[in-house]
């Protein structure tokens, strides 16, 4: 909403208040002024008259002028405008003038001295949309009676206005009316407000009927005005409209826009002679084509509010008139409509058809339904005054709106309690009155009447807002609440997650955050963990982001790819994120490694591999105190060409897949343009849901332990964990088994590999003798020999 400062000044006393001060006050009171634009600007301007005009000897288009600048004297100016001629009155920017784009200096143009510049309005910063092609092509031609020597050129032109650009929030649709902005400004500065004084014109018996057959229209008010003459609007009206961002069309249309800007009530005008019947009925059950005044055809459907005459659509209610009955230069008789349409149907139709107008925007946001009679009177008076209307019909009205003023009761305690203030009853009452809320004080209660334009105010909390926004939020004291003592803080699960994130960070992994939305195709990538149906957007913005991801692997690998493409040689990072799919609310942890492990100078580089993921996985389980046994690791069984089939482990909790980790399949590496990558993704919710036994301390044995190293030849198909378990099982004295060397190849039988392990033996009761140790080791060897065919390497 653009508000002309000078128009505002017509309605509220702004003596000594600058546009900037108005803007600041409005902004703090809840109507943000996003900017202030001057209609035009320029210093050192003067009205001059061209005394002589001769062609420049050295140019085919420049002229040399001598210009009379009144008391300043006569100056020579070189001018390039095609319309420069002797006798013309012009705007001169004198030497030293500052225009929006340039600063004027004395200069020599192709050998001829030039002291100043004759200006076009474009050069003074006037928006080109308000200028004719002729005005844009040359210098501005001032009327013959323009006073030479006048320095208040912008004032003379009526271009000394400033436009406040209001960015209105949905709670203040009333401020789409200049009158209400004036009231608001008057209230904030405690200045006198003068509204348009309406003298109704004499009316004759009406010659039109109106009605509504839909809930979408609860008020329809019309007047038939005859014998209007269409022509150009007076200058003051043109200026006022252009300052408000609306182009002047003709006097009839301009009056409609003027009244809308002033009162917030959109008007519609019909050419009465083009209506099939002298009847306007609002309906919402029409289907078929509608040709609007923009020449386009729109398909109507049930629910669209349409103003009909003899069953034919004459107007897409509140949005746009039909071409068939629009007002044009030949129009003589008109019907003026001031109606109230519900915002919802207008919004639906407007959105569906992509058709937005000043009128539809106002209806969508909410229009004051209590002023139609006032609006009609105002319009009639203007039509008589500016369009020489001959005859005005009485108002015809369909109205099922309750116009009883809205009353609210509020107590002083409520106001002060909600705001934390200690205002007096008098202050509150007076402040509300300033904002137009007439009120009566009874005890500590105020009986408040809401002004009709404030359709947003519907509860006593709203009144507290009125009080504080007018008196200023700086009047709110600052007091920390005293809160009752109770147990709060992070839940155990939140704590565990936070520790886990910290653990990973301190382990050297970067924590990242990526987008939730991905393409439908990407949904199928790494689709192992959360397989429920994905949420797919009804109204995506792009195909790249149309569904909610069900895993993090693709996002993180894409991130690896992004960085690899920017010369990153390696990376290790993780993300913890919510996962939503239909019927599933979960949380995943994903870790990605790519490239080489960090090394010191001189050390050999080695790429990240499966064991990096396993190391992270083991450390996660360790930090959560979940022991192997509570979960199982199994070889990859899920197929696909995303994970390496022989270098990926599934983490299972019984039948439930808890996650997986391993090396990326070469084909998947190719998809992301990575040489190598290692991935881990876990269902964090499930993981953190595993119950762990509380920590139990154990006193260390008083006796020394004994270590025995064994080099075992083990068939290659036997995995280390099976071997380890079997060795541990052999004898209770064996308390731990640790692998320290692996070898396969020359000197080792085909089908076998050498696994060197260290057994630790310990008794809680005595120092172990050599015989006891040997007996235990023998048991262990026998056990793995029988179970797995492992033997001692000779």
């Amino acid at each position: 909403m653009n508000v002309s400062y000078s128009w505002l000044k017509d309605h509220v006393d702004l003596q000594g208040i600058t546009p900037e001060e108005v803007a600041k006050a409005l902004t703090f009171a809840g109507a943000e002024v996003e900017g202030i634009t001057r209609m035009a600007s320029g210093t050192n301007l003067v009205i001059g008259q061209v005394l002589t005009c001769v062609p420049h000897p050295d140019s085919d288009h420049l002229h040399i002028l001598t210009v009379d600048e009144g008391s300043f004297g006569t100056f020579q100016i070189v001018c390039g405008a095609p319309n420069a001629r002797q006798g013309l009155k012009v705007i001169v920017a004198r030497v030293g003038a500052k225009l929006p784009q340039i600063e004027i200096k004395a200069s020599t143009i192709r050998g001829v001295e030039s002291n100043g510049m004759c200006c076009s309005l474009l050069e003074l910063g006037v928006d080109p949309k308000f200028l004719s092609e002729y005005q844009k092509a040359g210098i501005e031609e001032l009327p013959e009676d323009a006073p030479v020597g006048e320095t208040d050129v912008l004032g003379y032109l009526g271009l000394d206005d400033a436009v406040l650009e209001l960015s209105l929030l949905p709670n203040r649709p009333d401020l789409y009316a200049l009158e209400n902005v004036a009231k608001e400004v008057g209230c904030l500065f405690q200045r006198k407000v003068t509204l348009e004084e309406v003298k109704d014109v004499p009316t004759v018996f009406p010659s039109c009927e109106v009605g509504s057959e839909t809930k979408g229209c609860t008020l329809f008010c019309a007047r038939v005005v005859k014998g209007v003459k269409t022509h150009e609007s007076p200058k003051w009206l043109q200026r006022l409209l252009s300052a408000s961002g609306i182009r002047s069309i003709n006097n009839v249309v301009d009056i409609g826009n003027y009244v809308m800007l002033l009162t917030g009530q959109p008007l519609n005008m019909y050419d009465a002679d083009k209506l099939p019947l002298a009847s306007l009925i609002v309906r919402d059950d029409l289907e078929g084509d509608f040709v609007a005044m923009d020449g386009q055809t729109y398909k109507l459907q049930e629910g669209d509010l349409v103003v009909t005459s003899d069953g034919k659509p004459m107007c897409l209610a509140g949005i746009m008139t039909a071409e068939a009955c629009m007002v044009d230069e030949n129009t003589k008789n008109i019907v003026v409509e001031a109606a109230y349409f519900e915002g919802a149907p207008i919004r639906h139709t407007s959105n569906r058809l992509g058709l937005v107008s000043d009128s539809s925007q106002r209806f969508c946001k909410g229009v004051n339904p209590h002023q139609s009679e006032y609006v009609q009177c105002l319009t009639s008076e203007l039509l008589v005054r500016l369009c020489e209307a001959e005859e005005v019909g009485e108002t015809v009205l369909f109205d099922v709106i309750d116009h009883t003023p809205h009353r609210l009761d509020v107590t002083l305690d409520y106001v002060n309690g909600r705001l934390g203030t200690s205002f007096t009853l008098g202050q509150v009452s007076e402040t509300l009155l300033r904002a137009g809320f007439v009120n009566v004080v009874e005890g500590k209660t105020l009986h408040v009447t809401v002004p009709p334009q404030r359709i947003d105010v519907d509860g006593k909390a709203d009144l507290t807002e009125e009080v504080i926004r007018i008196l200023g939020y700086e009047n709110v004291p600052s007091t920390l609440p005293t809160l009752s003592l109770c147990l709060t803080g992070l839940t155990p699960k939140q704590k565990a997650e936070r520790s886990l994130r910290r653990h990973l960070t301190y382990s050297g992994l970067d924590e990242v955050v990526t987008y939730t939305l991905q393409s439908k195709q990407e949904l199928e990538y790494f689709n192992y963990l959360t397989k429920a149906e994905a949420y797919v957007l009804q109204n995506p913005m792009t195909v790249e982001r149309e569904a909610v991801r069900r895993n993090l692997a693709h996002s993180l690998l894409s991130l690896a790819s992004y960085n690899a493409n920017r010369q990153a040689k390696s990376g290790r990072f993780f993300e913890v994120s919510d996962i939503d799919a239909i019927g599933v609310q979960g949380r995943h942890l994903c870790v990605v490694f790519f490239g080489d492990r960090p090394v010191r100078p001189g050390e050999k580089a080695s790429p990240y591999d499966y064991y990096d993921a396993k190391g992270v996985f083991d450390s996660i389980m360790e930090s959560l105190s979940i022991q192997l046994g509570r979960y199982q690791l199994a070889p990859w069984s899920l197929g696909g060409e995303e994970m390496h089939p022989y270098q990926t482990a599934e983490v299972r909790l019984g039948k439930q897949l808890l996650g997986y980790f391993g090396t990326l399949h070469p084909n998947a590496c190719k998809r992301y343009g990575l040489k190598n990558a290692v991935l881990l993704e876990l269902d964090l919710d499930a993981l953190l849901g595993i119950k762990v036994s509380p920590i139990k301390a154990k006193a260390p044995s008083r006796f020394p332990f004994v270590e025995r190293d064994l080099a075992l030849l083990v068939p290659t198909k036997v995995d280390y964990e099976s071997l380890r378990k079997e060795l541990l099982r052999a004898d209770p004295l064996i308390v731990s088994v640790d692998v320290f060397d692996l070898y396969q190849g020359e000197g080792i039988e085909e089908g076998y590999r050498s696994i060197a392990v260290r057994l630790t033996l310990l008794s809680e009761e005595k120092t172990l003798s050599e015989e006891q140790v040997s007996a235990s080791v023998k048991k262990a060897l026998d056990g793995v020999a029988v179970r797995y065919g492992a033997k001692l390497r000779q």
């Binding site: 949905p170 934390g420 600052s478 920390l480 839940t491 939140q494 913005m541």
Partner: protein
């Protein structure tokens, strides 16, 4: 003086003289063999005892020679050992400036740094942390928050829909409704809910279709705007510096009444006006207000008995302001070069 005694005395002098010329451990070893070992010259003197007439004087001379030389020898031995160690250490000189064994902690995306810090601040104030969901229902995202269907304020937030009822939440305020409804006996609430939100905005330097907010909610008897103001003042000081002040501007959110925008005095220029605050001295950081009585009522709290305040902090906005990030998209790109300075706090 008997000659033999003189001999003992001069052997002492000779030995000490020889010892002073010893340069290294090998020389010291040779010295020891020559003078102090069992068959060395000094113990060898004792064989002459019987030749001595004044046995006491001779004995004393030999003993003093042995004691003195041994003491000096030990002294020398220590000096040489120390020198040897010094030399060894010197030979172990390394380049102190080479990179260390890699064990740096990872970087943390500024988005997470801000969330963790704000959450910690409110945890310290006795708030609890609630977690909302990305996919919400129309009821929780809009209706319970006083945004009925066709309400004009729905236009403020262009929403991603999955159908009539399901959508990506447009604000973390949805967590308010969840919390209030799940409180069995309607007890006081003080919670903070960090989370993601989504709007149909084109991604550019300052807009992102995905962003994060931290929602705060306090509901109790007698909660007022003054409580909100003090809480946010504390927040501004902790996040942006002790000297910061805040100011409230009237605004509108359907779920609060009154609603305010909160500005913090510019931490770049201290309020004098600079490019960061566009010359105003103030920077907008969050939206807040008193919980709309309609929201309380819809969520089962009697607005005549309870009141509350709520606020929503834009995580990326805070991160961008604090760290001077020029483009919101950088946060989601996770370019390693960008993440480099963001270490864990």
């Amino acid at each position: 003086m008997e000659e033999i005694v003189t001999k003992a005395l001069s052997l002492r002098i000779e030995a000490l003289e020889a010892l002073s010329h010893v340069q290294d451990e090998k020389g010291l070893e040779e010295f020891y063999v020559q003078y102090l070992a069992k068959k060395g010259l000094i113990p060898g003197l004792m064989t002459l005892m019987r030749e001595a007439q004044d046995k006491a004087a001779f004995g004393a001379a030999v003993n003093s020679a042995r004691t003195d030389v041994t003491a000096k020898y030990e002294e020398k031995k220590q000096v040489l050992a120390k020198a040897k160690l010094e030399a060894k250490l010197a030979s172990e000189r390394i380049d102190l400036t080479l990179p260390g064994q890699p064990c740096l902690p990872g970087r943390v995306n500024p988005y997470r740094l801000v969330i963790d810090e704000v959450v910690d601040l409110f945890l310290d104030m006795g708030y609890e942390v609630c977690e909302g969901r990305d996919v919400e229902t129309d009821k929780f995202n809009f209706e319970l928050l006083n945004v009925p269907k066709d309400h004009p304020s729905r236009d403020m937030q262009d929403t991603f829909y999955f159908g009539d009822d399901y959508l990506l939440r447009t604000q973390t305020s949805a967590a308010q409704a969840h919390k209030m409804l799940e409180m069995e006996r309607k007890r006081p609430i003080r919670m903070i809910a960090p989370g993601k939100a989504y709007r149909r905005d084109d991604d550019d330097m300052t807009h992102s279709h995905q962003f994060a907010q931290i929602e705060g909610l306090v509901v109790d008897k007698g909660i007022s705007l003054a409580h909100l103001k003090a809480t946010l003042e504390l927040f501004a000081k902790k996040m942006f510096g002790e000297k910061r002040e805040i100011r409230l501007r009237s605004s509108y959110f359907p779920f609060t009444e009154p609603s305010v925008e909160v500005d913090v005095s510019c931490f770049n220029c201290g309020g004098k006006g600079c490019a960061m605050c566009k010359g105003t001295g103030w920077i907008e950081i969050l939206g807040a207000g008193m919980v709309n009585p309609r929201v309380l009522e819809a969520c089962g709290y009697d607005p005549e008995e309870y009141s509350g305040f709520a606020f929503g902090v834009g995580v990326e906005r805070v991160a961008m302001l604090r760290y001077g990030i020029d483009d919101i998209r950088r946060i989601y790109q996770n370019d390693f070069r960008f993440l480099k300075p963001f270490s864990i706090k």
